[in-house]
């Protein structure tokens, strides 16, 4: 290419060449400009789309979170309800069990105790007597038997009425139970007949206890409907294991015989059973 010398204006062919080059450059710039415009437009549209998508996703996420929180709250409430129900059920179960035990005890007491006097009944005596006999035999320990009968009880019932008679029975049994509770057990044997077993005790000590009971009962003041029911006396027959027998039937028969003697000799007394001929 021919270059014009310095200080001389360019030649026409040179100028034309420069114009061509400039035109080419301008076309390129115009193309780049057009490309950039398209790019800008594309990026803008894409950004808008992305922004919209992000917004939509964000909203969806928030709704999801709200829903999950709601579910979680519902689950917490359910859990609280279930926990409360379990706690309630445990208390209900404990209450029912304890109540069942109490009722069982109550029914058992009813089955072994006389409802009027609170003393053990004759059915319980049968079982208990066997246990006392086994204990006495195994340990070679004596025990005493006191059979008592309230004097003139039938006449008393006729004079004052059966309710007053019940009151007398209740007071006499209460006194006997309180007096012997540390040393023995009292049972209602029949109508006005009471039987007392004195554990691990000699015959003569049993006799002394019977005397104390007789004297104590004589001192009782019993009233019914503000009426003084007068003095109560009782007769006792006393027998002892093993002196008078080694089984319940024999021992009771011996005490009964002694009681009969006490009645026959004028009542209000304690009679020791006669010893069998062999002893």
């Amino acid at each position: 290419m021919m270059q014009s010398s310095p200080g001389q204006p360019p030649s026409v062919p040179e100028l034309l060449k420069q114009i061509d080059a400039l035109n080419e450059q301008m076309a390129q710039l115009q193309q780049e400009n057009s490309d950039l415009k398209i790019l800008l437009e594309t990026v803008t549209v894409h950004s808008d789309t992305m922004e919209e998508e992000l917004h939509r996703l964000n909203e969806q996420l928030e709704q999801e979170m709200e829903k999950r929180l709601k579910n979680m709250r519902a689950l917490h409430f359910l859990l609280w309800m279930v926990t409360q129900d379990i706690a309630d059920l445990q208390i209900v179960l404990e209450t029912a069990t304890q109540h069942g035990d109490l009722m069982e005890q109550y029914l058992h007491d009813q089955s072994i105790r006389d409802p009027l006097t609170g003393l053990f009944n004759r059915r319980y005596l049968n079982d208990d007597f066997e246990r006392v006999l086994v204990h006495g035999s195994n340990r070679k320990q004596p025990f005493g038997l006191i059979l008592g009968d309230i004097d003139h009880f039938k006449a008393f019932n006729t004079k004052f009425g059966h309710k007053a008679g019940d009151e007398v029975l209740i007071r006499v049994c209460q006194y006997i139970q309180e007096t012997v509770q540390d040393v023995g057990t009292a049972y209602r044997y029949g109508g006005e007949e009471l039987l007392i077993i004195i554990r691990d005790c000699s015959l003569y000590t049993t006799y002394d206890i019977a005397q104390r009971l007789r004297e104590g009962i004589k001192q009782l003041k019993v009233h019914y409907s503000e009426q003084d029911l007068g003095s109560i006396t009782i007769s006792f027959g006393v027998a002892g294991f093993p002196d008078h027998g080694k089984n319940s039937d024999r021992l009771i028969a011996m005490a009964d015989e002694a009681l009969y003697q006490a009645k026959a000799q004028g009542r209000d007394r304690v009679i020791l059973a006669q010893f069998p001929p062999s002893s």
Binding site: D88, I91, V92, E94, T95, A96, Q98, H99, G100, L102, M103, Y106
Partner: protein, 114 residues
């Protein structure tokens, strides 16, 4: 609203909003207790501000019976706005322990002894 049988009686005194129990409740299972449960619910569902169970003359109550009372106390507790009173007798041995247990189900429950 009263239930009367040979062995027990349940009556409702609406002037004092008190359900009064008499006798011995030895019914077998929850099914046989349904009339009593219905009576209790009927009264509680009216949402009185307070109600009382008078058990002073209820001599005997079996395990199903104490279950009925326990569940009733829970129901009243859930209502939140009923003041519940239970009147018991010191002379009836089972009442002391069992009625106190009901207070564990509803601490606001008021026990009165006579």
């Amino acid at each position: 609203m009263d239930i009367t049988t040979e062995t027990y009686q349940v009556t409702y005194d609406d002037t004092t909003q008190t359900i009064i129990f008499h006798g011995s409740l030895r019914l077998s299972g929850m099914e046989e207790y349904t009339p009593i449960i219905d009576l209790l619910h009927q009264i509680a569902d009216q949402r009185p501000t307070s109600m009382s169970l008078d058990l002073r003359n209820l001599q005997f109550l079996n395990s199903s019976g104490i279950n009925v009372l326990s569940k009733f106390v829970i129901r009243v507790r859930q209502y939140k706005n009923i003041a519940l009173f239970i009147i018991g007798s010191k002379d009836i041995p089972w009442q002391g322990k069992s009625l106190k247990n009901l207070q564990r189900l509803m601490p606001q429950l008021q026990l009165e002894w006579e």
